[in-house]
């Protein structure tokens, strides 16, 4: 078993490698941003401005975020399989280190997506001003939970035949608790209510998914 120091070095190496190879083509980021903006415009075009419908605003925000992330988060593993580089990567790092590196990369990726989507969403939909502390807390914890779950499912799906097509269908059952808690929390903060329960739920879910991932990644990549 590798020591903690060498594991964290390996995680960091995987993360920088992901960032570098993404930056070379920017294929994943461009596709995801394009997809996100298109979804956002479709939603906005379909429903117009909703200044006082906080129930719809919170649901649509997370639908847009969910679809944008589903369209892009399996990419990190699928790219390794398609490029036949997974075996090489596994020679130099443990499955857990690879997965954690890719998880951090996916988290960065989500952060970038949200920096573009969320302000644009608030602007286009004309919603009331959010309570920033709670709103950003929900977004942050929701993203961590989303990234933890989709990275795990993405690692699994990359080895199957369906890949892209399967990813959304297989992820959604696992993402449903995140989605439900995030939507109800976002709505509550717009209505001035407390969101402590939702935040705790998202944090607990993210922790449970991370723990499950740490236990299961070794099983995913052995043969």
């Amino acid at each position: 078993m590798a020591s903690a120091g060498s594991t964290s070095r390996a995680v960091w190496a995987v993360l920088t490698k992901e960032c570098r190879s993404e930056w070379r083509t920017r294929y994943g980021l461009n596709a995801a941003l394009l997809f996100a903006v298109t979804t956002l415009v479709t939603v906005s075009f379909a429903v117009g401005q909703l200044p006082d419908r906080t129930d719809l605003l919170s649901a649509l925000l997370w639908v847009v975020l969910l679809f944008a992330s589903l369209a892009s988060l399996a990419h990190t593993f699928v790219r390794e399989i398609d490029g036949h580089t997974m075996t090489f990567l596994r020679l130099v790092a443990s499955p857990t280190a690879i997965a954690l590196g890719k998880l951090l990369f996916n988290l960065l990726f989500l952060l970038l997506l949200e920096i573009v989507i969320v302000p644009l969403y608030l602007l286009l939909m004309g919603g009331p001003a959010p309570q920033w502390g709670r709103f950003l807390g929900l977004l942050a914890l929701g993203s961590v939970a989303l990234a933890a779950a989709t990275t795990l499912v993405g690692a699994l799906i990359a080895q199957t035949r369906g890949r892209g097509a399967l990813f959304a269908g297989v992820s959604i059952p696992v993402l449903l608790p995140i989605f439900a808690a995030a939507v109800s929390g976002t709505r509550a903060q717009w209505e001035g209510a407390a969101v402590g329960g939702e935040l705790r739920l998202l944090a607990a879910y993210a922790a449970a998914m991370l723990a499950a991932g740490l236990l299961l990644y070794d099983h995913l990549w052995e043969d």
């Binding site: 795990l152 399967l166 059952p173 449903l176 879910y205 052995e222």
Partner: protein, 216 residues
């Protein structure tokens, strides 16, 4: 053979008693009788899911394809019973609540179970090699099992349930409670459905083993 005939007779008698001997609950009226089919089907769904997940984890620990056969067969039967529970529940909801589907927490959780099973079977369909298929689907099974308790916890926070389960088993409710005759038929049907599930499971496993041996 004897067991099969006994099981057939057992379920038939319970069914007839459910329609003739057992009384109805006030408010629910004739729709009371759905509990002899709907609740046992839902119960078997949960048993099947738990069975499938336990064998998935056993597979990851022991790497024996026997456990994978068990997990896959239980999941397939689980889908069938889950569909039966969903359809009977939806029909009952139309009669009692006035709409086939309105995202009551029970409807949400059973829909979630259908999604999990569906995804599990989709993964199985997308991998050719038996050992790899067993490994990947077992991992998914474990991941989905993490999501289940959270969903049970999240959904009731968002919607209140109208599902009658809190009334029925209590027995001493002012609304009439559960008549002992209903209880007898109900538990007979639960036992019958459970036995039916394990019999079908053993058939499916034997079939799976034969398929694998003839392919090899």
């Amino acid at each position: 053979m004897v067991w099969r005939i006994l099981l057939f007779a057992w379920i038939s008698v319970a069914m007839v008693l459910g329609f003739t001997w057992a009384p109805v609950v006030p408010f629910l009226e004739e729709t009371t009788r759905v509990i002899y089919f709907h609740v046992p089907a839902a119960w078997v769904t949960v048993v099947a899911l738990a069975w499938s997940m336990v064998h998935s984890i056993l597979y990851l620990r022991r790497r024996d394809l026997k456990h994978d056969d068990q997990a896959a067969a239980a999941a397939e039967l689980g889908v069938m019973f889950c569909l039966l529970a969903t359809i009977s529940g939806s029909l009952w909801a139309k009669a009692q609540w006035g709409s086939y589907w309105n995202w009551d927490p029970r409807e949400t959780t059973i829909f979630f179970l259908l999604l999990v099973y569906g995804a599990y079977l989709a993964i199985r369909g997308a991998v050719e090699e038996p050992a790899k298929r067993a490994r990947l689907s077992a991992v998914y099974s474990a991941v989905a099992f993490v999501a289940v308790p959270f969903l049970m916890f999240v959904v009731p926070r968002i919607h209140a349930t109208l599902h009658p389960s809190p009334i029925l088993p209590a027995g001493g409710e002012s609304s009439g409670g559960m008549d002992p005759r209903i209880r007898v038929v109900f538990w007979a049907m639960v036992a019958g459905f459970t036995a039916l599930f394990f019999w079908m499971l053993s058939l499916r496993i034997r079939l799976g083993r034969l398929e694998r041996e003839s392919a090899a």
